[in-house]
């Protein structure tokens, strides 16, 4: 494990009951990188994030974060580990009973004994970084989807974490907000020197900003590489995914009996009456 490596995922398996979600995942992520994890819906991407944050325990294998095996930590150690992580949820998950300012200040007030004047300065700095200093007094219900996600981003960088995980940050955004969020992810990663993991199925937007891509399909890593390698890839799955083709290794049809059988057609194509 090189000193630059922040997260190491080793032969990670996870299953809900008998249903295997992840089957032998190996990954390595360095400090300062933006890594995309891509895959179709339901391919276990979000499960992977939960395993990294220690919300779920792996069936076998392990995740190592900054040298510590996540699922072997006790509760206190896990909580202090989580202070080094931030997570951006799909729809922001802002605390609806707190204002924008209080949302960003939440972790500072919970985990530090900073005086209120310093918290105010820090919060305004974080909000300025996402361009929403002027929205500090609004309630989450008054924000648009893109703004809510930017506030959530400001909230997740409140304690300057080493890692931020983004769960589908691009879903349901207009093209402008999309670019704004994408650029923010890149810029904050570079400025704060942290690592970002972006779970997404928005190929075009994420290829613009990431350093490395993992494709997950059926619980295994189907392909990986830099954005350029991915664009040029001739592997059928990657090609289908990147170019958004309807049919390919990921079939259009859910497995079913033949169409003829379901419609009670005889082999010659005439309906059986």
């Amino acid at each position: 494990m090189s000193p630059k490596t922040l997260i190491e995922v080793n032969d990670l398996n996870f299953s809900y009951g008998t249903r295997a979600i992840l089957k032998g995942i190996d990954m390595s992520m360095s400090r300062g990188q933006v890594i995309a994890i891509m895959g179709g819906s339901g391919s276990g991407k979000t499960t992977l994030l939960r395993l990294i944050s220690g919300t779920l325990r792996p069936t076998s294998g392990h995740v190592r974060f900054a040298g510590e095996v996540v699922h072997e930590l006790d509760r206190d150690a896990l909580f202090s580990l989580r202070r080094k992580m931030g997570m951006l949820f799909q729809f922001g998950a802002l605390f609806t009973d707190l204002s924008v300012f209080d949302n960003v200040a939440f972790q500072m007030r919970e985990h530090t004994a900073l005086p209120e004047s310093m918290i105010r300065d820090l919060v305004l700095m974080k909000l300025h970084a996402v361009g929403l200093r002027g929205a500090q007094h609004l309630m989450p219900a008054e924000l648009s989807g893109g703004m809510a996600r930017r506030v959530a981003l400001a909230r997740s960088i409140a304690l300057d974490p080493m890692l931020i995980m983004y769960d589908e940050p691009f879903t349901g955004l207009d093209p402008i907000s999309l670019t704004v969020i994408g650029n923010l992810i890149r810029r904050l990663t570079d400025v704060l020197g942290m690592t970002s993991i972006v779970v997404t199925h928005d190929v075009q937007e994420s290829l613009k900003i990431v350093d490395y891509v993992y494709f997950i399909a059926d619980g295994v890593i189907a392909a990986e590489g830099t954005p350029q390698q991915v664009r040029d890839s001739v592997a059928p799955f990657v090609h289908q995914f990147v170019h958004g083709e309807e049919d390919g290794p990921v079939p259009f049809h859910y497995p079913a009996p033949t169409y003829q059988q379901d419609l009670d057609l005889d082999p010659k194509g005439m309906p059986v009456v």
Partner: protein
């Protein structure tokens, strides 16, 4: 036929096992809330905030219902007692009914539907919108930060609300019988005072409402925290809070009454 009986028995068994499982889960959750209550007392501001939602906002419904219940008690009591010529005992009747039974029970039922359902819906929605998970990932325990303050605020509000309900009821009875009907004011209060005992009536009523407060808020936070994270899940949990806590209040009331007033008076 035989198959249907078997499947019927099986489904009953399944439901019984399901509810035992749920009861166990609820007990474990309750212990967890108690264990993680330290934060609530170290940062009492959190509880004060919730006191506003569970206590202050329930005040109007408690005051109005208390007044009306007391007025009805006064009216009905007067009608009945008048037949025996002892209408001066109406104060006793109003006060004893309120302090012993109606105050704690009706206030708790109103509290369950006003504050209990709100607690369930709020926690359930926070869960559905991933706010609880987000909080856990920020290394803040949602049981300590969200659930426990609401629980303690409910436990503190309930006896106060029950006392307010009883007092409003007694003044409501006073309004109807003394001011409208014309029962002697002195005998209204004095008969009440000689009949109502501090330890047996008022203290026991207070203890009852404490029990109800614990039961209602424990059910409300449990249902909210374990609500399926969907719209139907949250609405179902809210309904279950009101139904379950109403049944628990009435059942608990019987048990507590049997313990407290057995062999006395």
């Amino acid at each position: 036929m035989f198959k249907r009986i078997v499947s019927g028995i099986r489904s009953i068994g399944h439901r019984v096992i399901e509810s035992i499982w749920r009861l166990g889960l609820a007990s474990r959750f309750f212990m967890l809330v108690l264990l993680k209550s330290g934060t609530s007392f170290r940062r009492f501001g959190l509880v004060v905030r919730e006191l506003y939602y569970s206590g202050v906002l329930s005040l109007i419904i408690i005051v109005v219902s208390g007044l009306f219940v007391g007025m009805v008690l006064g009216l009905q009591g007067y009608e009945t007692l008048q037949k025996y010529g002892s209408e001066s005992a109406v104060g006793t009747l109003v006060a004893l009914s309120l302090v012993r039974e109606l105050g704690p029970v009706v206030a708790a039922l109103l509290f369950a539907s006003r504050a209990g359902s709100a607690i369930t819906a709020e926690i359930g929605l926070m869960k559905a919108t991933e706010q609880l998970e987000a909080m856990a990932l920020m290394a803040v325990d949602p049981i300590a930060r969200i659930v426990a303050p609401r629980f303690w605020a409910g436990v503190i509000s309930m006896p106060l609300l029950a006392a307010i309900f009883s007092v409003m009821g007694i003044y409501g009875g006073h309004l109807v019988t003394v001011i409208f009907i014309g029962v002697d004011e002195g005998s209204y209060w004095s008969q009440m005072q000689s009949a109502v005992d501090f330890r047996f009536d008022i203290l026991n009523g207070f203890i009852k409402s404490c029990f109800f407060g614990v039961a209602v808020t424990a059910i409300a936070v449990f249902e909210g925290y374990n609500a399926p994270p969907t719209a139907e899940g949250v609405s179902g949990a809210t309904t279950r809070t009101v139904v379950t806590s109403s049944l628990v209040i009435l059942g608990l009331d019987f048990i507590l009454t049997a313990f407290m007033f057995r062999g006395v008076s």
